[in-house]
């Protein structure tokens, strides 16, 4: 299968503090890559580098065969990279529909008329269609998470970045989110998914990458990665001789 994204020896951080060190991995079209790792290992920084909020000091990011390392964040969004945040950031004064419309018009470069059916499609896929006229600032946490995904879908992404969509949700709500991700996978989206609720990742991802100290520790079959002693040691704090 063809590579959609390649991280090639990427080093990046904030100011003088480098968080990512020589990070290398690739994602194929239609794949769901789960990303795990302890707090501070650079998962969200990897997303920030990928969407263009920070510029790597070394290495390259190749997306759809284009080097996007120096490209602006809004241009990358237009190229098809959509991101959700762990703490949802809706445009609170706007309705659910308007939130998605902004994404469709600017992110996908569509006219308002052409964007309409795409917005409705994104709202239906995320279960927010009935709440489309609700002001987003009044939504529950689960619906805010849904809106994050709907808005990212509004940009008509090729690559969808999910940042801890299950965090802070009840068990039942996590089940809803899992189903939504499964639906997105079935629709053919390529997804990179950071999650702390690790059990959810085993059945929902094609590959799992464990990060540690800003670099890739292990990547491969989700179950194998989960059962790896190396991952247990670094991620769960279990010593090899225990």
């Amino acid at each position: 299968m063809e590579n959609l994204l390649e991280f090639k020896n990427v080093t990046a951080g904030y100011g003088r503090v480098q968080i990512l060190h020589d990070l290398t991995f690739e994602v194929k079209k239609g794949e769901v890559l789960g990303v795990i790792g302890p707090n501070g290992c650079g998962k969200s920084t990897m997303f920030n580098a990928l969407i263009g909020l920070i510029t790597p000091t070394q290495g390259n990011i190749i997306f759809k065969d284009h080097d996007v390392t120096k490209m602006s964040a809004n241009d990358r969004a237009r190229m098809g990279i959509g991101r959700t945040y762990q703490v949802p950031r809706p445009f609170e004064g706007m309705t659910v529909y308007e939130n998605v419309l902004v994404a469709a018009v600017h992110g996908a470069g569509m006219s308002e008329k052409a964007a309409q059916p795409k917005c409705i499609e994104a709202l239906k896929l995320t279960g927010l269609y009935d709440k489309r006229e609700v002001v987003s600032g009044t939504l529950t946490l689960l619906d805010r998470k849904r809106l994050e995904i709907a808005r990212a879908l509004g940009t008509q992404p090729v690559l969808l970045l999910l940042d801890e969509v299950a965090a802070g949700l009840t068990e039942a709500e996590v089940g809803d989110v899992m189903q939504m991700v499964a639906d997105l996978k079935a629709e053919g989206f390529t997804i990179i998914w950071i999650e702390h609720v690790i059990e959810t990742m085993v059945n929902s991802t094609d590959h799992l990458m464990c990060m540690s100290d800003g670099t890739q520790l292990l990547i491969g079959d989700p179950l194998e990665v989960m059962n790896s002693k190396l991952v247990e040691e670094v991620y769960l704090g279990v010593e090899e001789d225990e």
């Binding site: 445009f91 609170e92 706007m94 419309l101 018009v105 600017h106 992110g107 996908a108």
Partner: protein, 278 residues
């Protein structure tokens, strides 16, 4: 008393127009534009020059001044303010302060410190409604203020460009990730703010005299309106303009501004986020 209330409301419409551009820049660009008062006065001078040299009616000068100020605003934001904003909000604040000094001194150089005023054919006309007298000029500038503020509010809610401006105002990072070109949006917001400054310039230049140094007076009024209304709220600006105008008129000739600022202080204590904050 009724006449005073009417006068206060009419004055409030103009104050809302003076403040709305500054409120937009506060809310969207997160910048305190210390040159806003000077832009209002610069526009008043532009209209005066067009009236004098081309023989245009003051109202017709808007055809030139509004687009011209819009373009100046976009250029200033894109070429100057956006660049310094990358280094934080303080350099941008200083740039607008510098702009205010440059504009003030250029106007002094070109027009001297003499008072200016645009003369209109309806300067002394009024509509008598029994005990209430409505000066046509005040009614006109109030109407312009009211219509502009309401249109701007509608533009923000109903157009996709307005929605992108609101999205940027809510969360510029999230807006960027939705594909919004934030710098370009800032440019448009500044252009719109300058367009309202052009309208405000006409509305203060017709009924009142102005000088190259009058900008600071309108900057303070704009500040008051923005603080009372809530930063970034267009509707709030309208209500705050009316509150500020009413307070000034009801305070009388001697204590008008004092009462206005007393209202401002009370607002800062009771509701520092303003009446219609986000």
């Amino acid at each position: 008393m009724i006449q005073q209330i009417v006068n206060g409301i009419l004055l409030g419409g103009v104050y809302a127009l003076v403040g709305v551009g500054m409120s937009m820049i506060f809310g969207i660009v997160q910048l305190t534009n210390l040159a806003h008062g000077e832009f209002v006065i610069l526009s008043a001078y532009l209209s005066t020059v067009l009236c004098t040299n081309l023989g245009l009616h003051p109202l017709l000068t808007l055809i030139i001044t509004v687009p011209l100020m819009f373009v100046i605003g976009m250029v200033l934001q894109n070429l100057l303010i956006n660049r310094v904003m990358a280094r934080g909000s303080e350099p941008a604040l200083l740039v607008t302060f510098g702009l205010s000094i440059i504009i003030q001194n250029t106007l002094l150089l070109l027009f001297s410190a003499d008072a200016q005023r645009m003369v209109t054919s309806f300067q002394s006309l009024s509509v008598d409604l029994g005990p209430i007298k409505l000066p046509v000029l005040q009614l006109l500038v109030f109407g312009i203020g009211l219509v502009v503020v309401l249109l701007l509010d509608l533009f923000m809610k109903k157009t996709y460009l307005g929605q992108s401006i609101r999205a940027t105002s809510d969360d510029k990072t999230a807006a960027t990730l939705m594909g919004v070109n934030v710098k370009h949006t800032y440019g448009i917001a500044m252009g719109l703010a300058m367009g309202t400054a052009a309208l405000a310039g006409l509305c203060v230049g017709m009924p009142w005299t102005f000088y190259p140094t009058s900008g600071s007076q309108y900057l303070i009024i704009a500040f008051g309106v923005v603080v009372i209304g809530g930063m970034g709220s267009i509707k709030g600006t309208l209500v705050a303009g009316l509150v500020f105008g009413l307070a000034q008129v009801l305070g009388g000739t001697n204590y008008g501004m004092l009462v206005s600022y007393a209202v401002l202080l009370i607002m800062l204590i009771v509701r520092p986020q303003g009446l219609f904050s986000k």
